[in-house]
Amino acid sequence: MIRRNGTAYLAVLLGFALAAVAGCAKQSNEIPVGVYGSLTGTTATFGISSKQGIELFIEGVNQAGGVAGTKVRLIIEDDQSKPEEAATAVQKLIDQDGVVAVLGEVASSRSMAAAPICQQAGVPMITPSSTNPKVTELGDYISRVCYIDPFQGMVIAKFARQTLGLAKAAVLRDNKNDYSVGLANYFTESFHAMGGTVVVDEAYSEGDQDFKAQLTVIKAKRPDFIMVPGYYTEVALIARQARELGITVPLLGGDGWVSDRLLDIAQDALNGSYFVSHYWEKDPNPAIQKFVADYRARYNSTPDALAALAYDAAGVLVHALEALNEEDAAAFKTLIGPRGDKQTAARAKLRALIAGTKDYPGVTGRITLDAKRNAVKTATFLGIKDRQYEFVAVVEP
């Protein structure tokens, strides 16, 4: 008995040793890039779309020989749609995997949980689609490739006030969510400035199942539309329950609605509603159509705006890595070489190259980062009709 246990113990130890050796051997000739996202949980499609967008881009790079002959290796962590798990995931990516940069998250609350860790460790982080302005204010190692909420809120207010000609808004925000609270505030500010009024402002918490109490209050105030700056699961449930209570006015929202599950859950309840997105998959632009075709061929589904932004975030990172290799090949070698003190300086150079991104041709538009490392881009308005998305307008910044 004792002998058998001893042998098993040895075998396990040997296994660990082999794994460790294999791990080291692998790291030296690849560029480790960390990805964290919500692959499970309440916003699972956010993480899955982003992961697929990033993988598609990196696979393309690796097939073409990698960056300066070195392949990129993605290390992907699931944060279960929870901010505290996002922080843990990023800590692991930096400490254990020694990644050169981090890509993620979609939800601003989770990006804000992870950003201080990247900033502290001096590892550049690019968020594909967190729109709350506070995300990049957390430090100069944090950048994004999407527009920010003051712009998004203004666009929604303008669309409601001027295009649809509506004056009375109801707001139903997610109180536990930085994105939702921020977007609701920016919308309210702009809508007031344009002569509209917010007649009622109600709140819920992410994960709630039942919104009828809030919707009953909203119904009594007879608004012209309901602004729901939340994420798709709750938005779809809110829409259904609103229709059940006999509320017929349209719902308006932001890019948190982007998910292929939205209409599965909402069924017909969102017909006649509008939201802001980052791109339109049926745009005839050949670059977009090539991306959509590649994505379909790889995953057998249509890329949503979050997949497109993630694809661009990976693109901006690879572009910066290539630029680093061109400008300072020694720094590039240090960056991807074994861990050491000199890497801090190399990562700082990479950071500066990301922050200086100018006119990168992404599928979601040309990406130029401003002084606060936010992208200045157009917003795309989409409508929902007979359970289909339709293009409404593009709004310039």
Partner: protein
């Protein structure tokens, strides 16, 4: 006024769910003096059992059928009854002679086990319950209710009435009351105590499963951790009504549902979950035995 009536209507439909869960708490407590913290998770398993049964039978979607919906409800109740029996047999029976604290900690363990098993088996991302009955809104003098909410209330009332008839009118029900009154004396009178406890767990779990299916019908988002909050709130409902009392659990559940709606409607949604604990503290301060509970001095 209409707004208030609407909030009350929604609150009653929601409270019926709490009442069904609270019944299981109260029955088990009445017989074993055990707070079965895993009860909320049985409710979650009930919702998932119905979800998979519906997928298996292709229910919902284009051709919703009330008969199939009923079959799924009964199937899910059966599965959870078996789960409840297994839970009692494997987890609670071995520690029945130990202190009550041991049993309580066991219950918390079972609860965590079921939640994490749920995450493992069903996945952490929410699932969307199929539409077993086509939704329709009905206006009752301006108050909008759905046929789902009406179904919830009717099914709950039917289950509660049959439960009290069962407890009051049948031999098994009488035996349950006897075991609840004094387990040792009941055993001396030849009542098979083990079998009665098994039956109690089976019925309580089946009621929780029914609550899970009904929630899936009205609020179609289900996930492995969905049982925690309703479990806690139904527990408060049982305490409010007087733990151990069947009518108390029903009234407590309805009061919880309605007060939650009034708090969200007239105060703030931030206090939605807080109200349950405010009620719990008030009950413990003012009337610890609950509305329908009997005050019995503990023999020391």
């Amino acid at each position: 006024m209409q707004e208030l009536l609407q909030q009350l209507a929604n609150g009653i439909a929601w409270g019926s769910i709490y009442a069904l869960i609270a019944l299981g708490y109260t029955m088990v407590y009445g017989i074993l003096r055990l707070i079965n913290f895993a009860h909320g998770d049985i409710y979650m398993v009930g919702a998932f059992a119905a979800y998979y049964l519906a997928r298996l039978t292709n229910a919902g979607g284009a051709n919703p059928s009330p008969a199939l919906a009923l079959a799924i409800l009964l199937g899910s109740m059966l599965i959870c009854a078996l789960l409840g029996v297994a839970m009692e047999y494997f987890a609670y029976r071995p520690v029945r002679k130990s202190s009550r604290l041991t049993a309580l900690i066991t219950a918390i363990g079972v609860s965590l086990f079921l939640e994490n098993l749920g995450i493992r088996l069903f996945g952490a991302d929410p699932k969307f319950f199929p539409q077993l009955i086509a939704p329709r809104s009905i206006s009752l003098g301006g108050v909008m209710v759905t046929n789902h909410q009406i179904t919830v209330v009717i099914v709950s009332v039917l289950l509660m009435v049959s439960l009290s008839l069962f407890i009051q009118r049948t031999r098994t029900g009488k035996a349950m009351r006897a075991v609840s009154f004094n387990r040792d004396a009941a055993s001396l009178m030849g009542i098979p105590v083990n079998r009665i406890i098994t039956i109690t767990f089976a019925i309580g779990s089946a009621l929780a499963a029914a609550a899970g299916v009904l929630v899936g019908l009205t609020n179609p988002k289900i996930e492995p951790l969905m049982g925690i909050m309703p479990g806690v709130k139904a527990f408060v409902a049982a305490v409010l009504g007087g733990i151990g009392s069947v009518p108390g659990a029903v009234i407590g559940g309805l009061l919880m549902g309605v007060s939650e709606y009034l708090v969200v409607g007239y105060l703030s949604s931030t206090y939605r979950d807080a109200i349950a604990f405010v009620i719990l503290i008030l009950v413990l301060l003012v009337k610890p035995a609950g509305l329908f509970g009997r005050n019995i001095a503990e023999k020391v």
